[in-house]
Each structure stands twice: as C-alpha cells, then as structure tokens.
Symmetry: D2
C-alpha cells in the first residue's frame, strides 16, 4: 500500500507534535478521529488517504525532541492525554529522525539566538530541496506534501520581483534576504521539487505571484493562508448573521490572550502584525461596510497553549436601539489546528493525485485569509468544499459507468 510523506515546517512545535500524536494514535486505534473534517460522512465520500499511510518528517530550527514537546502538551498544558504520549513514544522517536534543521535567518524565534555563519539563500533552497528528495526516496513515498505550521513571521514588504518567478529567482540568487522570508524560501523549495504546499500560517509562504508561478509550472496544487481555528472561525459564522438580519454592527472588539511559544512569538509587534492582518479581513467583506473593529493579541504565559478570546459585538437593532453579544472562546490552538492540518494533507493529496493544480479554493473554509476566494461566510465556504466533493463523487460514478 502506497504511503505519502507529510513534511511539516515547524515539525517540533505544538501544532506539529499534536498532529503527529493524533495521526499515530488514530492509526493505532488509540483515539477516535473527532475533529477531522475529512471524517464527516459528506466529505469522507471522497476516497482519501488513510492517516496510517502518512509518514511524517519536517524542518525545525529548535532542537528539543518531539517527544519532549508532546509530553509538555500532556503534562504542562493538560491538552493531550498523558497516556497517549506514553503509548506513542516509539513512534515519536522515529519521526524525530526525519526532522532536519530549518532555515535560520530573517525571522522566527530562533534567528537571534543562532550564532552560526549564515547560509546563502540559494544554498538553502538546494539543501532544503534535497531534504525533501531524500525523504521521498528513502521512505518510498508516492509524494511529499509540505505544510507550514511554524511560528508566524513578520510581514514582508512587497517588491516588484515578487510578481514573477524570474524575479523571485533573482532575489534568491542575489541573496536579497530582506525580500525573501524563510516561509517563502520553504515554499519555493517545496514547489521546485514537485511537492504540493499548504501554508497554515499568516507568513508569506506562497503568497507572491512569482512563487505561485512555480507551482503552476510544476502542475502542483497549493493553498493558504492561516488556519481558521478559533476567534476568526466564530467571526465567520457570526458576522453573516448580522448581515442576514440587517442588524448594523457598530463595533467589534476582539481580545485574545494566550501563552506558549505562539503567544510569546506574537508578543513581538512585527509578528503580531502578520497575524492581525489575516484576522481582520472577515468583517468588511461580509457586512458590506467597515464597522469600528479591533483585534488584539496579548501574551499571558500562564495560559500555555490555551487561548481565551473575548469578543464584544455592539450592534444597532430596530429604531437604532443598541444591543450586544459577547463570546468567550476557550480552546487549545494546537488541538484545534492539528486535525485541520491532517485534513489539508488528505485533500491536497487527493487533488494532486487527480492532477489538479493552482490554488485549491475548495479549501477556503480552512483558512482565515483564503487565496482567491471572496466568500467570507464560513457556511458558504464549507459549501465550496461540499460542491467539490459532489463533483468528484458524481464524476467517479460516471467514470465507473463507462
């Protein structure tokens, strides 16, 4: 039975370790697949790759072991059953062998601490591409899907070279580090070696047209940005409600508190800017006007990987009377995100297998800032996925009949 590679950028982070623990636990029958969208009957109608056929690897700039991280998620955060991590020790140690050093420069938490001589961009692309090649060959994988689940990096100022593949190449060859973020470099390396690419973060990744051109050239599917897991998910179901009831949103103030590496990273104003950008895109397109809106993220170490979001929505009803709804969301980001990352791998594998290329707009419902889709209502985005499934299911039926 053929296997596929799942290559995680940020492979030792909370999200990656939770995804790996989960995939292995479900494969061993130790956990149920709740939280996976691809297990819903209406999506599972597609013949998707099994979790037990996924081989994990990836890049990370940290050196703490995956098992160590998984244990911390269990003991410190009480987010993963401790028994599960204990039962999967061997699996986690095995995955660790497939984790290679990431690219350190120009962003990310590890950047400042690293004293080594810096690696030229062009050399890095080659090295990273070789990692993917080696992984595919050694593990005999049908394909390797690259998913960015690393810490958010600061936004990257646009330069004209971003718009074409040639331009991006010149940036890399010229070692123009201010214009090439690590996430962009990873995306480039992945697409250059024929690996479908998914960006679960708000980092640049495959956003520049020049990087996407590489995807089209190699006939690859790709998508992003920024997995939609909590507050923005709520927003994308609540904002349409106000629109559908013709209730004017006067203001929408959102406050997020979280700890963990993610919280620490986002306490850096530049990284936070990337995050807030992708979080803020839902309201105006959904409502048709721009209410007074704000989103903030504050680092509260004691919360660990648990995030609490408080949103206060003030709206005007009939005769201008002001009313409000508030929500308090308490979730563990890694737990919310991990199944979605696995869903995206399965659906990307499916698309690649069928020769689909370019942005996978059917996956819009998974992202805060979905590429090339103007639909911001979660329900409508989910319908895009169902339409995609329906089309494939009926195509297959038709195909069989012939």
């Amino acid at each position: 039975m053929e296997r596929i590679g799942v290559w995680l950028i940020g492979a030792r982070g909370a999200l990656a370790s939770t995804a790996i623990v989960g995939a292995r636990a479900i494969s061993h029958g130790l956990a149920r697949p709740g939280g996976l969208v691809t297990e819903l009957p209406e999506v599972a109608a597609l013949r998707l790759v099994g979790l037990d056929r996924m081989v994990f690897g990836g890049w990370d700039i940290g050196s703490a072991k995956l098992l160590h991280r998984a244990r911390a998620m269990a003991v410190d955060d009480r987010a993963v059953p401790a028994g599960l991590v204990a039962a999967l020790e061997d699996d986690l140690l095995a995955v660790d062998n497939h984790i290679k050093p990431g690219f350190v420069d120009g962003g990310g938490r590890g950047a400042a601490r690293d004293g080594k001589k810096r690696e030229p961009l062009e050399a890095a692309v080659a090295r990273l591409g070789d990692d993917l090649e080696q992984f595919r060959l050694e593990q005999r994988l049908r394909r390797v899907i690259v998913v960015n689940v690393a810490s958010t990096e600061p936004p990257c100022a646009r330069v004209p070279e971003h718009d074409t593949l040639d331009g991006v190449r010149r940036l890399i060859q010229g070692d123009r580090r201010a214009a090439v973020t690590p996430s962009m470099l990873y995306a480039y390396a992945a697409l250059e070696r024929g690996c479908p690419y998914v960006n679960f973060t708000p980092s640049t990744g495959a956003t520049p047209a020049g990087v996407q051109e590489l995807g089209w050239k190699h006939a690859l599917p790709f998508y992003g940005n920024d997995g939609k897991t909590g507050e923005t998910l709520m927003k994308s179901v609540l904002a349409p409600l106000f629109r559908m009831r013709n209730l004017e949103v006067l203001s929408w103030a959102g406050f997020n508190i979280l700890g963990g590496g993610d919280g620490e990273n986002l306490s850096n104003p530049r990284q936070r800017e990337s995050k807030l950008r992708s979080k803020s895109g839902v309201l105006s397109p959904t409502l048709g006007y721009a209410p007074h809106a704000s989103v903030s993220i504050d680092y509260v170490p004691s919360l660990g990987h648990w995030k609490t979001a408080w949103d206060h929505i003030h709206f005007a009803g009939f005769l201008g009377t002001k009313m409000s709804v508030q929500f308090i969301w308490q979730g563990c980001d890694a737990i919310l995100a991990a199944p979605l990352a696995l869903d995206l791998v399965r659906l990307t594998d499916f698309a690649h297998e069928r020769g689909e290329r370019g942005p996978m707009t059917q996956l819009a419902c998974f992202f805060k800032d979905p590429m090339g889709v103007s639909v911001h209502s979660f329900t409508d985005q989910f319908r895009l996925l169902l339409d995609y499934v329906d089309e494939h299911v009926s195509r297959e039926r038709h195909g069989r009949r012939r």
Copy 2:
C-alpha cells in the same frame, strides 16, 4: 394607493407597540429601517408593500393604552427613543381605536382576573371574525393579515379532532375549551374570514392540521411558529459550526433571564413549557445526535424587556480534549422581534397577492420552530428565502418580457 390591514393579536403588548411605533416612525421619515430583513437589497428585489401602507389594529385582553405602553418602552426600558414616542402620539391614539377586546379564556395572563361571564367559543369566533370584516370594510383594505404576537399560552394536549377541519369545528361548536386555546381560536377566525395568518409565538395557533385545512380551503398562506430573535438565532448559526468542523458538542446549557410581561408570563411553568419546547428543537437535527442540552428561562423583573442569555457550550476537539465557548446575548426582545413581524407581514402580503397558499416555508429563517421544514441551520434557512426571491424576480422578468 391600496392599503393593507395588519391585525395584531396582543396589540397592546411590547412587541406590537414597538412594531407600530417603528412602522409609523419609518413612514414619517423619523427613523431608518435598520433591522428589517425586507430592506436588504437581495430581499427588497421583490416589490413589497410599503410600511406607510399598513393600517394597524388588533385584539388585546388588556386595557392599558398603546401610547402608555410605548412610553414605558421609552422611559422604563430605555429601549425606544423617547422623542419618537412623543412625535407619534397621534398615530398611536388612532391605532388604539382599532384595538378590540380579545378572547379571554383558557390561558393568557388576563384570564384569571376577568370576572365576566364566559363567552362560548362559537360566539367568540363569530365576534372575532366580524372584527376583521369590519376593519377591512371601514378602512377599505385590500386584505387583513393577522399576526399573533400575544403572550405565550400553555401547550394544548392533542385530541383527534385537531386533525380535521370538521373535528376542529365540532370542538368549537361543542365549546370544548380544554382542546381549543385562544391562539387556535384566533387563527381559526382569521382563516375563516380569508385572512392570512402568521404565528410569531410558540402558542398552538394554526399548528393543528384541522386549522391548516381551513387555510388551504380558503386558499390562504399561513406560517409559524415562534419568532427567532436571540438565543435560538445564535444557536442556529453556532450549532452548524460544530457540525461542519466535526467537533462533538458534549453539552449545551442555556440560561435566559428577562423581566417584563413576557418574563412574568414565562415564570409560569406551563407557559414556559411551550417556549422551551420550541427553543429546544434546533440542536439534535443540526448535529445529528442529541448532546446533553438544557434551556432555562428565569424571571428577573429589574431587566424589564431586556433579555440576557448565557449559553455554555462544551465540546470535544481532537483527541477528546474538551474546550468551550460561551456567549452572552443582551437584547431587547421587542426591538428584535418588531421588525421581523413587519417583514412577515410584507412577505405574507406578497404571497397572498400572488395566490400562494399553505405554509410559507420560504419564511423558515424567521422562526424557532418553522412549519414543514427540516432545515435548522439559519444560513440554509435564509437561502430558502433568497431562492424564493430569485424565483419571483426571474419570473417577473420573464413575465415582463412577454
């Protein structure tokens, strides 16, 4: 220009007085039509009756003047601008002349206090029907639409006679008061006299098949039950979210506190039962399973007509990790409901004008417990309305071309 009658059951209540104040204020250009779904561009594509063409009247079992109630909404509840009520004094006094005594027996707050000899059901039907007839003739109205916005009545035990028009008639002729609630009697009187009927409450109304048979017989549109204004509205957008993300809802505990006449009425366990029944129908059909769920309503007089709902939703994410979302909804029920009642009048007028009959399933998104519709996601219900609009718009275009 032709006018239509809007005949409100509970015409001196908070909801009715707010709807009347609003319709008159908007007609006079004193307020904007925010909160009216029929003012959304996608719905306004239908040619709907203007608010300025509505003539209000109705039944009530109380004797406090409409103006008095409107002032209380402004001063005590700070829910309606005081200036608006002052500016509309004449309009409100005029409407008061069209408010006739309701039917007092078998439910409602006024029942116990009334010392008069009780009116036989058959006599009541005739009297109520004559009220409608007289209103139509005297005011020269194209039609009279009857909307139940009265206090919730206790549930009515089903009897076999409810299932046929003949059966219902026998109940009325036999003065079988235990089997014929006031809301049923009003609905019967309305449909018998050719008036379309809408039930904005969870009371029995036109629920029995025998009453609906009367609607079909007279080629009338009708619909209900129970306007969806707050907590249940939130539920019907949030529950689908959990379904679409394959997150298991472990429990959903909802607590409502409110004052006012509605709060007082619902502090009566039997009336509350009707309300809770219509509130509780959303979760299971949406999720596909029945989580531990509860809804409670408590009377807190100091809140007046303002309702606060707190819902605690506990759900299992990936690997069974428990997370939660809570929401706090603070709204004025009359303000939330009044524009919907006006929307329903406009859309019912449209349907009747075009000869449509039977349950208006296109209106499902307005109700907690919509007749004959299995769709419980608010977004999907709203789509039913849009589909209806699209069909009519394209039909009209087609018609014009000919």
Copy 3:
C-alpha cells in the same frame, strides 16, 4: 512525634481523595502548599499540626478504591497531576485500609442501591463509634477529628426532639429514621466518642441543638456548615462592595453547572434544596434588604468535577441608572475544597488541644452558612480568624514571659 487522625465522612469521594493526595504529596515534598489558608504567614503564626502528622481514614458507602478515584481526578478531570497520583499509590492503598462502611439509609446516593437489611440507628451509632475508637487506638493517635465531606443529603424536617440531647437520643433509640439523617448520626457518633466534628457540607450534621449539646458535654469544638469555595465566596466579597458604595442590587441571578458525583447528586431536587439554602443566605444580611435573587444548579455531566458559575448582578446607580456586573467562575470543586478541609483539621486540632469547646466561630470564613455568626462579608469573617490568631499569639508570648 504525635500524630492525629483525620476521619473523613465520604472518604472515597473527590474531595477526600484530593485532600489525601494533597496532604501526602506536600508531606513528601512533591507539591507546594498553595491554597492552604493555614500556610499564610499571618495564620501560620499559630503552631499548627503538620500535614505529615495526619493519618487518614473514614467512612464511605461506595466501594470503589481511593486510588481509582484519584486516578480519575487525574485522567478524566485533568484536575490533579497524573504523576502525583502515580507517585502516591502506596500511600493511597494504605489509607484505603482505614476506610470503613458508612451508614446507609435515609439519604445519599448509595441508599437506594443497597439491598441489605437496614441497620437500626442505635446499632449504627455504636458501630461507627467503635470505628473511631479502634482507629485511635490502633494508630496511636492523639485525637481523631471527624470531617463530613460526603454528598449533600436532603434537608431534614425539624422535630422538637432535635432541641435537646435527650430528645436526639430518644430519636435514635426509637429508630426514628425520618428525623435522623446519616450526617446527624455521624456527628452524634463522633461527638459521643470525644471527636471534634466539622461539617463541610450543607447536610444537617451537628446543626440540631441537641447534637451540639453532646459536643458541649464532652468539651469538644465543632463547626459548619458547607465549605465556601466558589460562587458563594465571590458573593461574599462582591455583595459588601455594593453595600459600601450604596449601590442598590436590583437582582442577583446565579447559575451553576457541574458534573461529577456532586453534580449528579444535586440534580436530585431534594438534595439541591439543602445546597441552595446554604448558598442563599449571604445577600440579604449583607445588603440589609432582599433583592430579587436566585441560584440554580444544573447537572452537566461533561464538566466532570469542574464547575462553571455565571452570576448576573443588576444594580441601580446614581439617578436610578441600571448597570451590571457578571462573573464567570471556572473551578474544580475538589481542588478548591480540599485545602480548606485540611485547614479546618489543623485549626480544629489547635482549638481542641487548647481545650476550646463549642462552635468555632473563628472559622466562619470557611463556610457558606457559618454557625452562630452574623457577619457575612468574607473580609470581616477573615478578620475574625486573624483576631483569633492574634489573641493566641499574644497569649503565648505572655505565657512564655511568665
């Protein structure tokens, strides 16, 4: 070094197991003593018994092992570190040997399930007393302190016999089971055998004057009722705020949701009544008037031993303007209660050692419904404790000087 016995009624419950795990963990240096009031410098000025000198035992009507319960608290509820329970296995197994069968009749969850012939009250008193005696002798304990941490029982109707020791004796001898609840029987047995008694629950316990007479007769300290751990604790600091600011509380609506055995037990209306009674006593005496107030408890199994309380407080400010404050309390009852139970043991030991007898009003701050104290502000109750400490500290200093 002398040791004392801690005899827990409900010794296999969540509270008891958490208290035992905690006392042992701290004694072994595996955990810090956070949450213990007696570790505050201003209280620790008293020379109190060390946790390492406590020997645990008790009664329970269930047969599940203490270790099993402790593991469930760790794994199912994620309320106690799993590593701690593993490290204390031997300690927990040892305590299990000191847990004897409780008295089954007339209340408690176990009552209905038990098919055995029922034990006469008089025989039970003797048997229970012998358990205490045996524990003291076998373990060579300086004293045995009995603490009721069992499930809440339904309220007990007062009868005249409750008022005197003779009366209570007659009830027991006459096997008058309707007038003698298990908690009363346990309290009687404890006091009769010279054991100080503390009631951490709202059950009857030593409330009847006749039972207290027995305490006075044997020169014993005793106290209760109902440990103040969460919502009521908040109430007893917030209600004084409104009083001190002359802000009229219009309404105070509190809603509790919880799972676990406690939640299940309190879903029984009669047991809930006991709980709600002790919860409702704070507001009126503190405010000087009775606002519209309600407290409810709902069973939500998925929460396990975690309780969420939502309180909505509506108040009138200057010129009658209505404002509100809401709080959401999310805590684990056993974790909140366990250290207080240990505090009470230490302070009761101290009092008994010094020959103090009767109700220990200095402990009012630990209870929802403190015996013989009209002070309901938590801060003022805490001052009673500090005054007690100060008196003893200065007495000791004085004593030494002599």
Copy 4:
C-alpha cells in the same frame, strides 16, 4: 443657611453635568440619593452639608452648554432620565453662568484647537484665582471646594523644582510649561486662594510635594488621585480574596472598551499612560508579589459613555491546578463617578470646617491611587472612613457633654 461652592475643573464634561443634574434633582426631590456613600447610615452619622446647599461653578475649555451635554447623556447615552434633564433646564442654565474659561495649554483635548495667543502661567494662576475669589464673594459662599473632573492629561516628567513650594513658584514664574501641567496649575491656584482641592483624575494635580506644601501652608485639606469607579474597584475587592485564600494569581489581564470624550481622550497613548499607571497599582501591594498583569483601554465610539471591562484572572489552586474567574463590568462612568464627586465635596467640607489639613487619607476608598495610604483592599480602605466617622461622632458626643 450657609452655602458652599463646588468648583469643577471640566465643568461641562459628562461627569460634571451628571453630578450637577444629580445634586439638583435630589435637592428638588426629583430623584433619590442612591449611589452616594455619604447617605449610608454609618457615614451619614456625620453632620454633612446638604446637596441643596451646594452652588456649582467651574472651568472648562469647551464651549458647549451644560444643558446640551446633559441632554446628550439622556438621549444619546440613555444614562440619565430624559425627564430629569427637562425638569432641570433652568438650574443648568444658571450653573452655566458660573462656568469660566479654563487654562488651555500643554494638555487636554481643547489645546490643539485653540488658536489664541498663549497665556503665561503666572497670569493664568492670577486669573484662575480671581475666578474663585469672585465666585465666593458674589455667591456669598462659606468656602469653595475645587474638584478636578477634567479629561486625563499626559503624565508630567518630574523635575526637582516639584519638590518644594519655592521650586513650583519658580516654574510658574519662569513659564516652564513642560513642567507645569494644567491640572497642577489649577491645584496651585485653588490652594493659593484657600480652597480645598480634590483630584478625581490621574492627572498630576496636587501630587508634587511643592504643591502640597502650599496646601499645608494655608491649612487646607486636599486629596486624590483618580476616582475608583469600576474595574479597579472590582480589583480592589477581588485581589484580597485571592490573598486571603492563599490562591496564587498567575495572571490578571484587564481590557476596557469605552467611547465618549473620555474614551477618545484615552485613545491618545500619552493620556492612556497616566490612566494605566493609576489602574495598575492595586495588585502587587495587595498580593505581596507581582503576577503577570496588564490593563488596556480601547476606544469604541459606539459605546458612548458606557464602559465595558472584561478581566480574566488566572490562578493556581491546590496542587497547582489552574482555574479562572472572569468578570464583565458594564457601567456608565459618569453615573458611577458623579455621586462620589459629591461625596468627596461633602467630606472635604466637613474636614475643612473642622480645621483638618493635609491629605485626607480617610478618603482612600474613593481613589484608585490614594495619597499616602498603603492599604489597597477596598474593604480595609472603607474601614479607614468608618474609623474617621466613629472618631468624629464620639468626639462630638463627648464635646456636647462638656
């Protein structure tokens, strides 16, 4: 009957207009004195000046009429009964005649808009002092009490001259505007003319030792800073709770949203800094350690003068288990603050009448950052007030006996 003057800095603001409406409404018997601490029986034991004996005047840099502001509080904010403002039109117009131009420079919202030649500090002190003198003489007032209720100004960098009266005088004479904020100038002018001074804001006011020296010199009572009305009030009752229960506060994250002039002013980072400083001083002294804490203030225009604060308190219980309490405070700042401003006037009048001078530490409970008091628990601060009352009451009794 003798009257006193109440001279408000910021006399046309929301707080001032609400205080004036309230004092007049209560004097006319149109409103009850709820919210006034001085109406509590235990404080009213002092013989305090009646609200009907207060004559209002003040400074403001804006020109909108007081009546206009009061109407906006009624109509736009629904914070004051509209009928009350209508009934008090004459009173409000009369007070407007006593409002003089404030000092415009170096802070406050009006500063930038004003094109006039700037007034030297020394001239301003003389002019402002003359305003006070004239008011006292023309209105035949026993004394004039100056209360700062103006918008918060940015913090003022400390210079050595602040430390002595001579130094402050040199700053004024030298027109050293960077070192003399308007609030300081007002305080100086007040104390120089023998007027007791109270600072209800976090602005500098009488904080510098040199300004206080002037108060001592003229034997005047004075106090501040920053009225404690909402979130910080809650903090000063909740933080002691955690201390008294030995529960470690891990983090305390507070988020405030508000509109109105105050919200707009505080959206300016420098003004916000002053506010956040006075808000942040409660936790550490109360707890005895510094938890991770943050307070933020965001401007949400739609809220008008209504403020919503959400505080998330994360704490460690027994065995390190993390729990939380959240509160949501929804209040109108002007409504909360106005009665306290009147209370402070009454208590300052009392102190001055009795020849008391220097900081009135008995008033600590009214302030976020009380001068010269290390007690931060609200309950303990309130006790300081009660002790003061008791002392005076017993002194008066004793005095009479003689």
